[in-house]
Amino acid sequence: MLFTVENTIAYCYTGGKTFHPAQPTAVFIHGAQNDHSVWALQTRYFAHHGWNVLAVDLPGHGRSQGEAKTSVEALAHWLLAVLDAAGVEQAMLAGHSMGSLIALEAAFQAPQRVSHLALLGSTYPMKVSPALLETARNDEQAAIDMVNIWSHSSIAQKPSFPGPGFYAMGGARRLKQRISAINPQQVFYTDFYACNAYANGEKAAAAVRCPTLFIFGARDMMTPPKSTKLLTSTIAHGKLVMVDSGHELMAEQPDAVLDALFSFATS
């Protein structure tokens, strides 16, 4: 589904179903150097169980045009403009990694627009090491491989993603490479820069009043669960779910993530 947002084409995957304004809406926000397809299984389930799905491609990622944005605040503003373009007053926001910061900031900027907040593989502050930032800027392919290796806990996760026979680590690597090929504008560095620079997380977290869900990967090396105490203690009413996964939670534990998300969304 295509919208015009900030005078640029924005793409949202709808889970294989037609968008019906009368249904509740779930918005899925991918992380750095990714696109909507990281949510393939969860979004299809939501879309076939009474929900509108808007799984965005962030600006400059995948099928959405324009340049990648350099701040989480600007991305959150863009996300709210997507809701405007779709005619959605209020939605559940589910974000992964960088996408979780965008969801958090969108809830801060427009709390009335967010019915539920789901933060997956999240942490704050989301600092990126100077060495990784530098690698992303000077050798994007090397940065892709580093992050891909750190993001997976296993070379044998079952039932694999998006289904049996798919090598999840290989698919994640190719997706990041494809984002580079489609947009040579140093998207990875820009995304990392935005994560690293985001400074409003604590204030945004303190303002969250809507139901909130945290899903962490027990073996996540990118955003280790132990690093998330600031967020989880600030959003004290948030529910915590731990799954046996690395940072690529939706691919490594698709059913556990889906079950946690859907139960949260419908509770």
Binding site: D35, L41, A142, K158, F161, P164, G165, Y167
Partner: protein, 436 residues
């Protein structure tokens, strides 16, 4: 910044796609010998059918044992997905039929296994898919054969039986310039000797019957999606690949390229071709191929070492007219092989006997260790006479173009002691020259 590293080839050969069985702790991959899988609820059933959850429904579509093999070959090739098929021929057919249909055109190397040639030249033609065969070394021929309805360029990494080394970077560049994928049969090289995706290929298939299984026991094929080809971009530019980029009536209007940015080909191949043509690998065979892959690196090293010794020995034998192996400076692809195949140019090669067809028959019939049969890639050494077996349906003029003479012998060198193999060949060559 020095960073983490992916697991090495041998580690992936043993571990990719497989962990101890969570239910039993079994360390080896169990053979899941079942046709179907129980659903937890009606909602679970519906979500599996509709690709809302990952899992198994029916072993024609997926099976846990096969999935381990599929994920392992994808990891070894550096791809995104594998599909295990009933044979190498089934893998080739599944790959081509996923993107080609009536009215489509294929450009293929003319140096192909006879079975592949049959499928392209005769069988697919009957279903409205035309193929133009070209000299794999002639880049201009590849380019000029491309038509608006061409869907794929197709070749073997090492041509059969002349061992033409495919210039993958060059042919892939031609394909991509025309928004076409390059599909290669990598049976002779295996991912241990050559990883085609690293050089520009987009789709790979294997006859897993050969070196991957490695013991001459199971028939099987593997189709691997590299995730490298941007089908959506090709569709946007040329209108090709509507199969992947427009709603598919056979699966609830699914647009595969939206579902998966990098693996729409593998999604459709499984959800259409495997489902409807049904040429799936048995889990028994998947287990046999998995066992073979566990030692692939070790075996390929030994296959290549033995081959090099035998090639050198044959070169100086008076009953041998010529030896064709890409590691020899006399081979037309010597330089290319040095670049693409630094670990070895495989364990299958040809040589030409002095004498007529009868000399060849005396040679084959007198061998004791080499088995005369129609296969390659066994742990045991094999020999065959292509002109009367694998290529017997190929017209003489095309045989010559493929570098095959009446006296050409193809050897598949196994893992026996090299000295014993050489002694066996010496005996055969001596017998071949009797009465000459």
């Amino acid at each position: 910044m020095s960073g983490p590293k992916y697991p090495g080839f041998d580690t992936l050969s043993l571990h990719a796609g497989a962990a101890p069985d969570p239910a039993t702790g079994a360390r080896a991959t169990p053979i899941h010998f079942t046709s179907s899988f129980a659903f937890k609820s009606s909602d679970h059933a519906a979500s599996l059918f509709n690709m809302e959850r990952a899992g198994h429904v029916y072993s024609r579509i997926s099976n846990p044992t096969n999935a381990v093999l599929e994920e392992r070959i994808a990891a070894l090739e550096g791809g995104v997905a594998g599909i295990a098929t009933a044979s190498g021929q089934a893998a080739m057919h599944l790959g081509l039929s996923t993107i080609a249909g009536a009215g489509s055109h294929i450009v293929a190397s003319r140096a192909l296994y006879g079975g592949s040639h049959n499928l392209l030249a005769y069988t697919l033609k009957r279903f409205g898919i035309e193929t133009t065969f070209v000299d794999p070394r002639d880049a201009d021929a590849w380019s000029s054969a491309i038509r608006p309805n061409t869907k794929v360029l197709f070749a073997e990494t090492l041509g059969n039986p002349g061992l033409d080394v495919l210039n993958i970077p060059h042919i892939a560049a031609i394909a991509h310039e025309h928004f076409l994928p390059l599909m290669v049969d990598a049976t002779f090289t295996t991912p241990y000797l050559l990883r085609p995706f690293e050089h520009g290929a987009d789709l790979v298939f294997h006859s897993a019957t050969k070196f991957l299984c490695g013991h001459g026991t199971a028939i099987g094929g593997l189709l691997v999606d590299g995730g490298t080809f941007d089908w959506q971009a090709a569709y946007d530019r040329t209108g090709r690949y509507a199969e992947l980029c427009e709603p598919y009536d056979g699966f609830h209007g699914m647009v595969f390229a939206e579902e998966s940015t990098v693996a729409p080909f593998a999604l459709r191949a499984r959800r259409e071709g495997l489902r409807d043509f049904g040429a799936v690998m048995s889990p028994h065979n998947a287990f046999a191929v998995l066992q073979g892959i566990e030692t692939l690196g070790l075996r390929m090293d030994r296959h290549v070492t033995n081959t090099r010794k035998i090639v050198q020995w044959l070169l100086s034998h008076p009953a041998v007219e010529s030896v064709s192996y890409p590691e020899l400076p006399s081979h037309p692809d010597y330089a290319l092989a040095q670049t693409l195949l630094p670990k070895g140019a495989g364990a299958v090669f040809t040589f030409n006997l002095r004498g007529d067809r009868a000399a060849g028959q005396r040679f084959v019939d007198s061998l004791k260790i080499f088995s005369h049969l129609a296969n390659v890639g066994d742990a045991k050494s094999l020999v065959i006479h292509p002109a009367s077996t694998t290529h017997f349906r190929v017209p003489n003029d095309q045989l010559a173009l493929a570098g095959i003479r009446q006296g050409t012998m193809r050897l598949s060198v196994g893992l026996e002691d090299a000295d014993d193999l050489i002694e066996d060949l010496a005996h055969g060559l001596k017998q071949s020259q009797k009465g000459a």
